[in-house]
């Protein structure tokens, strides 16, 4: 239940920001959407067992390692996307002095 609430909140916050003006806010929105996706992945693995997924570590209570592996790369990839979006914002200054492309009409 709790994870569903969190995924919903992150998705809502991310959506709101993505629809605002300016690339930086869009980038921040994508970070939140990324969080929503990774937490959804972990929640999909089940939140009942919470032991560390090490061999001989968690035993019967170990969490599912597969979604964790997916989520780990997803986190790093969303970092790459954030960095690229910010590079766009960085460059847009040379076009109109701001990251707000809509002011350029």
């Amino acid at each position: 239940m709790s994870s569903a609430v969190m995924v919903g909140l992150l998705a809502a916050g991310g959506t709101y920001l993505v629809l605002q003006r300016g690339i930086v806010r869009t980038a921040l929105g994508f970070v939140l959407l990324g969080h929503a996706a990774t937490t959804l992945l972990i929640a999909a693995g089940g939140v009942g067992t919470r032991g560390v997924p090490f061999a001989g570590g968690g035993g019967a209570d170990a969490a599912d390692p597969l979604p964790q592996a997916f989520a780990l790369t997803a986190i790093v990839i969303s970092f790459g996307i954030t960095a690229f979006l910010l590079a766009l914002a960085f460059r847009s200054r040379d076009v109109n002095g701001s990251d707000d492309l809509e002011g350029d009409r």
Binding site: T15, L28, P53, A55, P65, V76, A83, A87
Partner: protein, 950 residues
């Protein structure tokens, strides 16, 4: 003997390949040889003429040379086949090619870039055209056919002043190319084989198929567009903007004959199929008449020749339509005759243009004095075109008339209609041929001409002389006619070629045609208005109108989706996603029991909700980033609560780095956000609420009710025994699903490259070299702490960094090494090392980082990906698997999993991405660059930056 045969078969492949190789070499040789490089290409083609002539005796005996090479599985195989028809065309392509190259030697100026470009493209074209005529696979024929269209586009001058004509030609022939592909698919599915010789042998199957009529229509479309038949003829005169060697080779002698070749090749398949015969005779006859009479009223010599070519192609098409052995054989020989006289004529037009500066008939005359050899060549060639004895053109015209008189078996009216049309066309032909000769070379001198070098005139003279020699020697061509008739028409034509057959009907018709032609030439001024009406509506204009309206429609469709606002692009996909979510919500019923969340979860979620609200509400950038960082740290805590220490650590590091990157970028931006309008905020809030509710509800309904996955449980038990790693998450990353990880680090590499390219190679101009100036100029930047350079001017920070950074680097290596068994791994290690780089940047400034030999973008990301890929390939020979794992034995009986090497690659790519951000986004503003204004857009500070429409 057998060995000889096989050698010849391989030579067949060489015939197609050699010109293409020559084309590739031309630019290289051209640097040294300049325009003389055309001679090299000419020699290559000459060698091919010799190769082909060696096959002539065998082919005249009815032999067929083949070459076959499987190429792509289940694709077209490289099947080549040389029979009499292919040999005639191949000889035309190579022989005219030799002379065109010789002509090009003198045509271009020394310093003209076309002097190398055009011969290179001409050689490539020759290879493609030889592919068309030698292909025994209908799809291979299609590929070569398209290649001729594309080379033609560039040869006409597709990117330069000839763009309009070249585009028309490309689109018209391109439509034909698609029709050919469709026809090929239909015929292949009717016969079950793409091999042309097999298709020909199964003519009855093709004709009996319900696909026969569509296939014929598509083939006619292909041949009609390529060979400039009515109503597609307009592209050929438009292509005359090309340099004369190109017009000579492609648009007179060879490429435009590809359509005629196609219908000749398919003639045995559709023999007796009335749709085929009727359409070819009518289209060809109409084209012949239209071309001849429009040619008569042209003032531009090149356009006159272009319409003349249209007319002659119509004659050949009509002959193919008759379908009798004599008609098919004589159509093929007329291809040769036409190539000889028309290439010569184009060359003479080029010489006249070159030496007088004009091609306008009203300004030309009397050039026989200044250009005697050109005049001789032009006159002989024009006589051949008009069908006057004793030239080769007379022979083929006579036999064509004879074939028309005999008519089409089974349809008397069709032969008669064809005969009337061709006689009418021939009258026009005689008239415009004589007009060219009398208007250019005879009469009063109107424009002075330079003398042409003999080498420039020689190719034209040789071609014209060939027509003169082959006329009286035409009996030597009888065996060729014989074998063509048998191979294409299934029977001997029963005709011996000769100048004199006695008083026959064709001879009478010839006399009539020549007399009427002379009368027409006299009456030309009076019939001009009549012919002008014939040329309307202009195909060019119809085509342009259709073309423009297609572009306009595309633009107006595009405009509905074109906006400066990112939200405009994002809303439609979001709306669709919402609809999909809504639909699922109605249909999904929850299965399984959701575990109850412990209270600590709810506390964490309350904090996260507050942090999200902070990000969303913040007006200043710094506040937003602080709230974002807080969100990330709380998410890391949530991961830790859910038994994911690796994730928690990764999230912490990534969040730290994200905040650092955002701060770094902010230095170039205003420090508050541009404020959205109220309507925008409301729409965004409503969308966000819907998305949040929908996603949350769907998560609650579908996710986490079934406990651990089967695969996950298996990994927990079997990971250690199989790959010897205790950290199951890491073993999944580097062993079980290493291919995914390889893809993911490729994405990181692309992001790093993107950042590098945006900053260093953008059309806005590169920013580098970096404009950071030193750690002390911060204060001058209006007190903004991070403006100016990367560095925080703090002694304490600098001291601490010099102590901590090495520890962090060592820690990162330790995390990397132990990752297989405990928390850590390439991603976490790389992020830790990246954090050390950030610390270094903050304490010592961008310049230090920039000058460092260790923190470089390309070497780091590149070597990382290469290491990962090489590791993947290394195991391939032994195990047959890409990215196969294993154990490495180190000195001292130490064994480690070899996937550590892969993790090193991951480690380096992650570091490289962080380095890319710091190096390229981390530079401050230049001394003279104003600090960005607060809030909202401002005028560009960089005056010479080009306007970019975002």
């Amino acid at each position: 003997m057998h060995d000889d045969r096989e050698a010849a078969d391989v030579l067949l492949a060489l015939v197609v390949a050699a010109p293409m190789v020559a084309a590739a070499l031309t630019p290289v040789l051209g640097r040294r040889l300049g325009r003389n490089v055309a001679a090299f290409n000419g020699l290559v083609l000459l060698a091919l003429v010799v190769v082909l002539l060696r096959e002539l005796p065998g082919v005249l005996d009815g032999e067929v040379v083949t070459f076959s090479q499987a190429w792509v599985p289940s694709g077209p195989s490289l099947d080549l086949r040389l029979d009499a028809l292919a040999l005639v065309f191949a000889l035309v392509v190579t022989l005219i090619g030799v002379l065109v190259m010789a002509y090009a030697l003198r045509y271009f100026a020394h310093d003209d870039p076309d002097a190398v470009r055009i011969p290179a493209l001409l050689a490539l074209f020759a290879g493609a055209m030889l592919g068309v005529v030698l292909a025994d696979d209908i799809f291979l024929l299609f590929v070569a056919w398209e290649l001729t269209s594309i080379t033609s586009f560039f040869l006409i001058g597709g990117t330069g002043k000839g763009a309009k004509g070249a585009t028309r030609a490309l689109l018209v022939t391109g439509i034909g190319g698609l029709a050919l592909l469709a026809a090929a698919i239909l015929i292949e599915s009717a016969v079950g084989s793409p091999t042309l010789s097999v298709i020909t042998a199964q003519a009855a199957t093709v004709q009996g198929s319900s696909l026969a009529v569509p296939a014929v229509i598509l083939l006619l479309l292909a041949a009609g567009t390529k060979s400039a038949q009515v109503p597609f003829h307009f592209w050929l005169p438009g292509a005359m903007v090309a340099p004369t060697p190109v017009s000579t080779y492609l648009h007179a002698a060879t490429m435009v004959k590809a359509g005629v070749y196609l219908v000749l090749r398919m003639a045995p398949t559709f023999d007796g199929f009335m749709v085929w015969h009727v359409s070819l005779v009518l289209i060809g006859g109409a084209t012949a008449v239209l071309g001849a009479w429009v040619a008569l009223v042209q003032r531009d010599l090149k356009r006159l020749m272009a319409y003349s070519t249209v007319s002659q192609l119509g004659l050949m098409t009509a002959l193919v339509g008759l379908g009798t052995p004599l008609a098919l054989g004589i159509a093929t020989i007329h291809v040769l005759a036409h190539a000889l006289f028309k290439a010569a004529l184009f060359m003479t037009v080029g010489i006249v243009d070159h030496e007088t500066g004009t091609r306008d008939l009203d300004r030309l005359g009397g050039l026989r004095h200044a250009l005697p050899l050109t005049a001789a060549a032009g006159t002989l060639a024009a006589m051949s075109m008009a069908g006057l004895p004793p030239l080769l053109g007379f022979i083929t015209k006579e036999e064509a008339l004879a074939a028309l008189v005999k008519g089409v078996p089974g349809s008397a009216w069709l032969g008669s209609v064809g005969l009337v049309l061709i006689v009418l066309a021939s009258v026009g032909t005689v008239a415009y041929s004589l007009r060219y000769v009398s208007g250019t070379f005879f009469g009063p001198v109107r424009t002075e001409a330079h003398h042409a070098p003999v080498g420039f005139e020689l190719p034209a003279l040789l071609l014209a002389a060939a027509g003169l020699v082959l006329g009286p020697l035409s009996s030597r061509l009888t065996p060729l006619l014989e074998v063509l008739g048998i191979q294409l028409g299934g029977a001997s034509p029963g005709v011996k070629l000769a100048l004199w057959h006695g008083l026959t009907v064709p001879l009478g018709l010839s006399v009539l045609v020549v007399s009427l032609g002379l009368l027409t030439l006299r009456a030309r001024p009076r019939i001009e208005a009549l012919v002008d009406g014939l040329a309307r509506p202009s195909g060019e204009r119809v085509f342009d109108r259709a073309y423009d309206s297609v572009l306009r429609t595309g633009a107006s469709v595009g405009r509905t989706a074109s906006s400066h606002a990112l939200a405009t692009y994002l809303l439609p996909p979001m709306a669709v996603a919402l609809l999909l979510i809504g639909r699922s919500l109605l249909t999904v019923t929850p299965a399984g029991v959701l575990p109850v969340s412990p209270p600590l979860d709810w506390v964490l979620i309350a904090l996260i909700a507050g942090a999200i609200a902070g990000v969303v509400q913040a007006r200043s950038r710094i506040a937003a980033v602080a709230a974002l960082g807080l969100t990330g740290f709380l998410i890391a805590g949530w991961f830790a609560l859910h038994g994911a220490p690796d994730l928690a650590l990764t999230q912490l590091l990534v969040e730290t780095l994200t905040v650092a990157v955002v701060i770094v970028v902010f230095r170039r931006l205003p420090d508050t956000f541009a404020r959205s309008g109220r309507i925008r905020r409301r729409i965004a809030a409503a969308t966000a609420a819907l998305v949040g509710t929908g996603v949350g509800a769907l998560t609650w309904l579908t996710v986490g009710r079934n406990g651990r996955s089967e695969v996950g449980s298996r990994f927990l038990v079997e990971a250690e025994p199989i790959v010897g790693g205790d950290n199951v998450v890491n073993t999944i990353l580097v062993d079980f699903r290493a291919l995914d990880t390889l893809g993911e680090i490729s994405v990181l590499l692309i992001a790093a490259l993107g950042i590098y390219a945006l900053v260093r190679h953008s059309e806005l101009g590169p920013l580098g070299p970096p404009r950071t100036l030193g750690a002390t100029s911060d204060a001058a930047r209006g007190g903004e702490q991070y403006l100016g350079t990367g560095a925080i001017d703090s002694v304490i920070l600098r001291l601490m960094t010099s102590a901590i950074a090495p520890v962090m680097i060592v820690t990162s290596l330790w995390l990397l090494l132990r990752g297989h068994d405990a928390v850590g791994g390439g991603f976490i290690g790389g992020l830790t090392a990246g954090s050390a780089a950030v610390l270094l940047y903050l304490s010592q400034g961008h310049q230090r980082l920039w000058q460092s030999r260790w923190f470089r973008t390309m070497p780091t990301v590149g070597s990382g990906l290469i290491i990962a890929a090489v590791y993947g390939l290394a195991g391939l020979p032994a195990s047959g698997n890409f990215l196969a794992g294993g154990k490495l034995t180190l000195p001292g009986d130490l064994t480690v999993a070899s996937s550590l090497i892969f993790d090193v690659g991951v480690f380096l790519v992650v570091i490289g991405l962080v380095v890319a951000v710091l190096r390229h986004l981390g530079q401050g503003l230049a001394e003279d660059e104003p600090v960005a204004a607060r809030g909202g857009p401002r005028e560009p500070s960089n005056a010479d930056a080009p306007e970019v429409v975002a």
